[in-house]
């Protein structure tokens, strides 16, 4: 029964390292170590990020659904985040602006800095400053707001009023439709050299 490893044990950290290696390898191999490829999805000249990102989400959602179905993964035993509506909307919006300006998100900036991208290193410096700013202003600005609009552990199946399996199916269909749509858009947008 999952999780196979007791959280906090030495094996847990060893697995964190191994999973990290696989995560970093695939992100880099997919092209997430270049900011101009990453922001391509906002300008229509490169949808790699969108394809990789949603294929990964659908694959993992389907994988966990199957593991749960066969009794290998108990959804009660794995980490499912609590939904805080407005803090997530505001936090996500700030991150969206950060993506447009910085050209990276935290994970991709680590990959890019690892292969020598100095702009990614600058992004990481900014990331640390941003977290420090948050921690130092936590009590005065963020503490109360962060706790608001707590919707509990809310699943997309609850939101849509369907079974868990059907919610994964709907997500998969939307993802595939999006892939077809962006392929059409890509044909109309001039290539950008980078």
């Amino acid at each position: 029964m999952a999780p196979l490893i007791t959280p906090g044990s030495e094996f847990d950290l060893m697995w964190a390292f191994i999973i990290g290696i696989a995560f970093g390898f695939i992100l880099e191999a997919a092209g997430f170590s270049t900011s101009r490829k990453l922001v391509g999805l906002f300008y229509g000249y490169d949808f790699t990020v969108l394809k990789v990102f949603f294929t990964a989400a659908v694959t993992a959602a389907t994988g966990l659904l199957l593991f749960n179905h066969f009794g290998i993964v108990d959804f009660g035993a794995i980490y499912v985040p609590t939904t805080f509506l407005w803090p997530t909307v505001v936090g996500g919006s700030i991150m969206g602006l950060g993506f447009l300006l910085g050209g990276f998100c935290p994970g991709t900036s680590v990959c890019a800095a690892a292969i020598g991208k100095l702009d990614a290193l600058a992004f990481l410096g900014g990331l640390v400053l941003g977290i420090l700013f948050y921690t130092l202003t936590f009590e005065s600005i963020w503490m109360e707001f962060r706790k608001t609009s707590n919707l509990g552990v809310l699943l997309m199946s609850d939101v849509m009023g369907v079974s868990y399996g059907v919610s994964v199916l709907i997500f998969s269909i939307i993802a595939i439709a999006t892939f077809l749509l962006v392929s059409k858009i890509k044909e109309r947008i001039a290539d950008v050299e980078y």
Binding site: D12, I19, F23, T55, V58, Y79, G103, V128, L155
Partner: protein
């Protein structure tokens, strides 16, 4: 230098592999992958170690006081160390390792660095408020079909598309 860069992996193949890694992460350790949390853990450990009185008095840091939250026990810190190793391996195999500032020919390296720092600051702030970044809140949240993951991804990419025109001249 006659090395040629290898092509990137097919995005759908990469996506399936990435999805399998995230599935394995949940099955083996009970949690998905993340990134911003590792930096928060390192910062918290540093603040607790070097300014213990401040940490005690801070509403943010006081629950990091105590041995249980040392970075040596932090899952995400080890995962991020792995990400660095994995990215170097992939970059080395594809001849992509090189020191450079990557930017559009229309802007200078200096402009790019300033933008990168500003973007990092915003991501650092937003990821703390949003309880994780594209990876931890977004991808891992969507993997377990959590509304939170879909809201985070919707906000990140929604705002990205809504304001893309403002920053177009810096990228295209």
């Amino acid at each position: 230098m006659s090395y040629t860069q290898q092509k990137y992996m097919n995005p759908y193949v990469a996506g399936v592999l990435l999805g399998l890694v995230i599935t394995a992460s949940f099955v083996i350790t009970g949690q998905g992958t993340g990134a911003s949390g590792a930096f928060k853990d390192i910062i918290a450990a540093g603040v607790v170690k070097f300014t213990p009185e401040f940490a005690e008095s801070s509403a943010f840091f006081n629950h990091y006081v105590g041995a249980e939250h040392s970075p040596a026990k932090a899952w995400l810190v080890f995962e991020i160390l792995g990400v660095i190793v994995g990215a170097i391996l992939s970059g080395a195999l594809a001849n992509r390792i090189a020191l450079k500032v990557e930017h559009s020919p229309k802007i200078t390296s200096k402009t790019r660095i300033i933008m990168a720092i500003a973007g990092g600051v915003l991501f650092g702030l937003g990821s703390q408020l949003g309880r994780g970044c594209t990876s931890g809140a977004g991808l891992s949240g969507m993997a377990v079909m959590s509304a939170s993951g879909f809201i985070a991804v919707g906000a990140i990419f929604g705002v990205g598309y809504a304001f893309a025109w403002v920053f177009k001249k810096y990228w295209v």
